[in-house]
Symmetry: C2
Subunit: 370 residues, 2 copies
């Protein structure tokens, strides 16, 4: 009998820049010319059927004009497309067009496009570099920091995927102007969640300026983009593998994710999150971590952002309770919640533990009343 030791200790640097601005297409091209991804000259631009005409076509044109080889890979827009089947479709299309390991992926779109493209990039040729050109507020809020990529399966959302960091992220605020109002609201849901986790001051800013966000007022949007990055980054940097602290980002998501799925994606992610946050603040109040006034303050901000704060009639609430068990925070068969402490802070139940088991009966009770 003998033992062979494989020593694989090394320093990994996955650092990257997030550039926030208005109209960043030319900046992307000049960054590529200046060696952002080394000497790669072949780019797979992945986008969805809506963003294609709005932005991706133009980026493709600029890439080609700059002398790069580039092709567009387009899938149907919508959260229901974030599947292994779409991933396969993109992979096969890339292989057919002769893409191999010497390429770079550019994701142009919202969270669905960036999540899926980052996952494709992570496993194509065992990993090729990728760049996110985010065209939604939700992507700015949620998908630009953290390196989480994934697809959904019939049995669970976001459970098949990997951690994969982009080479660079562009948050182009100009693109928010073409977002339907419902999508802006959906992005604001994650933004409000971030404020609830980490900053009373930012929460107050949102209370005051939420209407200007809907008008895509530049300073307000830039502040929103920056705060989203900063808050998420501070959490993620301290805990890249989501072992403890990072769970705070799951605030509102235990119920939110479940509603999103049970609604068959009729609810946008942010809409589902908004309802999930209502459940969470009610729970936080019940457990004594929030005053009634604070919980109402949070609920009103979601309302002010045109987000739903009640479970729609068409949702089967018993099915919803059952669905809570597919949440990735489930441990030893028990559902767990992240709970906020007042506004701008999170309860740490014991050292490094930010989610607590909740009895099904308690969760059911809250679900029945909203």
């Amino acid at each position: 009998m003998s033992v062979f030791n494989v020593e694989l200790k090394k320093v990994v640097d996955d650092s990257y820049e997030i550039e926030i601005g208005y109209g960043l297409e030319d900046k992307l091209i000049s960054d590529l010319k200046n060696g952002l991804v080394g000497n790669i000259t072949k780019f797979a631009v992945i986008t969805d059927s809506i963003v294609k005409e709005l932005y991706a076509d133009r980026i493709l044109e600029k890439l080609t004009k700059a002398g790069f080889t580039a092709d567009l890979f387009v899938f149907e827009a919508g959260e229901t497309q974030k599947t292994r089947e779409t991933k396969e479709f993109v992979e096969d299309s890339m292989l057919e067009k002769g893409y191999r390991r010497d390429c770079c992926i550019i994701a142009v779109g919202g969270g669905v496009v960036t999540d899926l493209s980052g996952f494709v990039a992570g496993t194509f040729g065992r990993g090729v570099p990728f760049i996110n050109y985010a065209t939604t507020l939700l992507a700015a809020a949620d998908a630009s920091v953290g390196g989480k990529t994934a697809v959904d399966t019939p049995l669970a959302t976001n459970l098949i995927g990997l951690f994969n960091q982009p080479e660079k992220v562009y948050l182009d605020i100009a693109t928010w102007k073409t977002l339907p109002e419902r999508q802006v609201a959906s992005g604001l849901a994650e933004t409000i969640k971030h404020a609830c986790i980490a900053s009373r001051e930012f929460f107050d800013f949102l209370k005051e300026h939420i209407n200007e966000a809907f008008d895509i007022k530049e300073e307000v949007c830039e502040r929103i983009a920056n705060e989203n990055c900063r808050i998420k980054y501070e959490v993620v940097m301290k805990d890249e593998r989501e072992s403890g602290l990072r769970e705070v980002l799951n605030l509102g998501h235990t119920v939110g994710r479940a509603i999103e799925t049970v609604s068959g994606y009729r609810l946008l992610h942010g809409e589902a999150l908004s309802i999930g946050m209502v459940a969470e603040v009610k729970l936080a109040h019940k457990l004594g971590y929030m005053s009634l006034e604070e919980s109402q303050e949070v609920i009103s901000l979601f309302e002010k952002a045109n987000l739903p704060v009640a479970i729609p009639e068409y949702i089967n609430r018993e099915e919803l309770v059952k669905k809570l068990y597919t949440d990735k925070k489930v441990k030893n068969g028990r559902i767990r919640f992240v709970i906020q402490k007042g506004i701008g802070d999170i309860v740490e139940f014991e050292e490094g533990v930010f989610a607590t088991p909740i009895e099904e009966s308690v969760a059911r009770e809250i679900i029945m009343e909203i």
Copy 2:
């Protein structure tokens, strides 16, 4: 316009042990009891329809007896099963049985099982730990070092996957006794390749002891397992991302992989590699890097190991030439070969470059004559 810097520099330690011995099932259980994967108590044992009854059933029983929760996930044996569909099947089965992020995967089987399971582990819940319990000589030779996991697609072999290091590898030589002789030969093909790359002395050892390897003589097999780990490790350790040096492990694989695919997997990996190595030594001789005697010496060792050294009649050679272009070493549309220098060394074409472009006409000529 503003730039937000995401700093993600860190030290990663992916080191692991390869334990080589006879009958390591109890050692696996005691390692798990002693915290090999921390306090995880839930194990998904992935195996194929042949290895299930031979070893996986028993390992499952031992796990359960030791107080762990464990389930078996079985797919049809064979290289053609290393697909995204099988990966989905395993994922869905695991999700259905309630597996989430708090589990560990144990792969019990040969290269197909360990490649596929390592890939499943890498993307299940964005990554769960995995252990390889290798039951074939080929897995010992090829799959135990390097962290390469992947599946095949209709358009390319091993192009969808990721780098993922196991927590530990067990090379149980006792299991080789149940291998069909054809599988032993297939494993010896990678072994001979390793000798050709790095050790004239080991090559001579194989010449002398190849028959004892077929009898699974313990000292011979242990030397084979050890040398395979050592040679592969020395290459891989110096170049974990396969940018340069690691390409030497592709010796014989430009033609080998293509034949394997064109044969519709009628040829085992090692059999296809054997033919690919014949093409490679003929090319090496043609280019002046090997004497005729040396090339014949290599070909005879493959013959002595009961491996094919000619392209079977049923292979369409023109299709084979075309297939060369799906090789992952293809760069700027040109096929590339790794070339050995005598026996036990590899040609370095320029610093860090171990594969060279070859004209299609030259490759075709060689393919036509074997």
